[in-house]
């Protein structure tokens, strides 16, 4: 089944080939840091830093494509990092999210006077951490990648030093993030104690050969790992930091957190559960079932009560963590593929929505209410149309990528005979119509309050491209999802652990 180049990842040369995207991003981060120290006074200098970042992200994506095209696969058990389609598919989602974030930041940074070119260096370092999370085949690598990402994003959340809310967001995220990391680390330590290894494939091997399926230490470790990841992807009941942090951080950073951080967290979580803990699948399936159901319902219900658009989108992103958890709950390869596809769609739609928000909310988008968008369709038809596409996609309306994504998730859930979870997902989506549709109605059906309302809506330069490209891709994947879905399926199928299927897995198919 495996074709393409086989890479020996216990050899440093093999690792250097496998880690090309990460190395490119790291070098670019160093270059931007030096550049920022040398030139940082004028608009041009900041634009240079941004363009170096954009080029680096594009080149890294090119090398990801090359690794995919060559079909690199590891030889035997990969020690620290691995190279497979799942990793490369996750990396594509992460890099795309980062690229759109930088394009969105170009005008935002100038408008909000966030004059620190280190912004881009930290963004690149966060991307490097995310890529390591997606690539890690060892709990140590995954944890360090997660810390690298988190530390960079803590600072990015507080990069607007004039805003009290930004500082609050950074501090809150830092404290709760550190708390979550402690849980994760405790879980890793207990897993190591039970199995004597931190390598994902070897953990599964030990669990099977030593018959640790009901070992208390292993299960406690798994539980703590789930809590740690639950915090990072903002799943209810570990979501309490998310609304304030998403609300207070600068809008492009919020978009980056909602898309990239979540995608990386889910990539690592999926790999950990489906390779290391596949032998104790019934335990975490039960836990994920509840997490997913509670997150979907609670996220959507609380979003319903919000009038402030940025906060509403924050809760909507919590609800979407629920949909992604639901994709993972069956613990199947189909579910992993659905996770990748929905991850891509979610990255596009959430970045698009936040781009409109960043453009519409001059002088602080925190205060932007639903009614402030009344009559937007008349004044700015294209912006309104794009926002409509994003909201419909977030809702899961047929014809958009969001619908196809939810369809695949439902398929994975129903295949695993978790009918109740499927019902919860559909019900949650229906609830979400209650807050997405009023925004569209306000834009199209209500008159603009005054002649010069919306004069401040500025979607200029690169942000305009972000809007266009994301909207077109969402519709494209909505009506013609096959190409993207095929890639996602190849990615998902790589998470099969190396072993003969046991009775448990047979039962699921």
């Amino acid at each position: 089944m495996i074709s393409g180049v086989v890479l020996d990842l216990s050899n440093i040369l093999g690792v250097l080939i496998a880690l090309r995207p990460e190395i490119i991003i790291t070098l670019a981060a160093l270059a931007v840091t030096v550049l920022a120290a040398w030139r940082h006074k004028t608009v041009d200098d900041r634009q240079t830093a941004a363009w170096v970042t954009i080029i680096a992200l594009a080149v890294a994506q090119g090398s990801v494509g090359f690794l995919w095209y060559q079909g690199y696969h590891p030889f035997g058990v990969s020690p620290m990092v691995t190279v497979d389609y799942f990793r490369l598919a996750s990396a594509t989602i992460i890099l795309l999210g980062a690229l759109l974030t930088v394009l969105l930041s170009l005008s935002y940074v100038e408008r909000e006077r966030l004059w620190a070119p280190e912004y881009y260096a930290l963004l690149l370092l966060a991307v490097a951490g995310m890529l390591f999370m997606a690539a890690g085949s060892d709990l140590v690598t995954i944890f360090l990648g997660l810390e690298l990402m988190s530390v960079s994003v803590y600072v990015l959340a507080g990069i607007n030093r004039r805003s009290q809310h930004s500082a609050e967001a950074a501090l809150k995220y830092f404290l709760l993030g550190a708390f979550a990391s402690a849980f994760l680390l405790y879980g890793i330590a207990l897993t190591y104690g039970a199995t004597g290894t931190t390598n994902l494939l070897l953990i599964n091997f030990q669990v099977q050969s030593l018959a640790l399926q009901s070992n208390v230490m292993l299960l406690l470790g798994l539980g703590l790992l789930l809590v740690g990841f639950g915090f990072k992807v903002a799943a209810v009941p570990f979501h309490m930091w998310a609304p304030d942090v998403y609300d207070g951080a600068p809008t492009p950073v919020t978009a980056f957190m909602a898309a990239g951080v979540k995608a990386a967290g889910f990539a690592a979580l999926a790999r950990v559960l489906l390779t290391a803990f596949i032998s104790v699948a019934p335990v975490w399936q039960e836990a994920l079932w509840w997490l997913a159901a509670v997150t979907m319902i609670a996220g959507n219900l609380v979003a319903l009560a919000q009038r402030n658009i940025k906060r509403m989108l924050a809760y909507s992103s919590i609800a979407h963590a629920g949909y992604l958890l639901a994709a993972l709950a069956p613990g199947t390869v189909v579910g992993a593929a659905a996770l990748l596809f929905y991850g891509l769609a979610y990255t596009l739609m959430t970045l698009g929505a936040f781009t409109v928000l960043a453009g519409a909310g001059r002088d602080g988008e925190r205060t932007l209410k639903v009614d402030d968008l009344a009559g937007l369709a008349e004044r700015r038809p294209w912006v309104a149309a794009a926002l409509t596409v994003f909201l419909l996609s977030l809702l899961g309306f047929p014809g958009t990528a969001g619908f196809m994504g939810k369809w695949y998730i439902l398929q994975a859930i129903v295949d695993a005979r978790q009918i109740t979870l499927a019902v919860v997902l559909v019900a949650a989506s229906v609830i979400s119509a209650g807050y997405y549709l009023p925004i569209i109605m306000a834009m199209y059906m209500k008159p603009a309050p005054s002649a010069d309302s919306h004069a401040g809506v500025q979607v200029v330069g690169a942000a305009r491209w972000v809007l266009g490209v994301t909207a077109i891709l969402l519709v494209l994947f909505g009506v013609w999802p096959n190409a993207a879905m095929n890639l996602a399926q190849r990615g998902g199928s790589d998470l099969r652990p190396i072993r003969a299927p046991s009775a448990q897995e047979e039962h699921q198919h």
């Binding site: 440093i12 690792v15 880690l19 790291t26 981060a29 840091t33 940082h40 020690p79 620290m80 990092v81 004059w115 620190a116 280190e118 912004y119 260096a121 930290l122 370092l125 966060a126 490097a128 951490g129 390591f132 060892d138 140590v140 690598t141 360090l144 990648g145 810390e147 690298l148 530390v151 960079s152 803590y154 600072v155 507080g158 990069i159 030093r161 950074a170 207990l190 104690g193 039970a194 199995t195 004597g196 030990q206 030593l210 640790l212 070992n215 208390v216 230490m217 406690l220």
Partner: protein
């Protein structure tokens, strides 16, 4: 004798850690942290990890603690008055409950321990230290098997340094 030493060092570490988080004066807290770090270094020696123990004393109890004290004194945090960050009895009860839950979680683990098959026979590390040297025993895995995590750690420190400067510098 080893077990007795272990309990002694561990007891001192836990006691000093408790004192560290309950003292009002930051300088006293920092000094109790030094005691904790020293006690942990003692535990490392009992685990046959002498090199790590030395590093612990040199780097943590030495260099990093000096930085801590410098910062405390530069910011003049010496007398903070009677303010406390622990809010009300609700917070205390909740914290105590959570802490107790975490400690109780250790109880089932005490009896279980790691499975027999994966336990390293006693004295393995001592033999390893004799053949490779106390430093080589650490250095070889660090720069061979764990090279990638090692490099990610260096990136992590870079990100932390850049972040600290961006957030704290008065004029960018």
């Amino acid at each position: 004798m080893i077990t007795g030493l272990f309990w002694a060092f561990s007891g001192i570490a836990i006691l000093a850690a408790l004192l560290c988080i309950t003292r009002k004066s930051p300088v006293a807290s920092a000094l109790w942290l030094v005691v904790t770090l020293f006690a942990l270094a003692g535990d490392y020696v009992l685990l046959d990890a002498q090199f790590i123990a030395v590093l612990q004393v040199l780097v943590y109890a030495g260099a990093i603690m000096v930085l801590f004290l410098f910062v405390i004194m530069l910011l003049n945090l010496g007398r903070s008055g009677t303010r406390t960050d622990i809010k009300g009895w609700m917070g205390r009860v909740l914290a105590a409950a959570l802490g107790t839950a975490l400690v109780l979680e250790l109880l089932p683990l005490r009896d279980l321990g790691p499975p027999e098959q994966i336990r390293i026979p006693a004295g393995t590390l001592a033999t390893l230290a004799e053949t490779k040297g106390a430093v080589g025993m650490i250095a070889e895995p660090l720069f061979k098997a764990y090279l990638v995590p090692f490099e990610i750690t260096s990136l992590l420190l870079l990100a932390a340094v850049i972040g600290a400067v961006v957030l704290a510098k008065r004029k960018l």
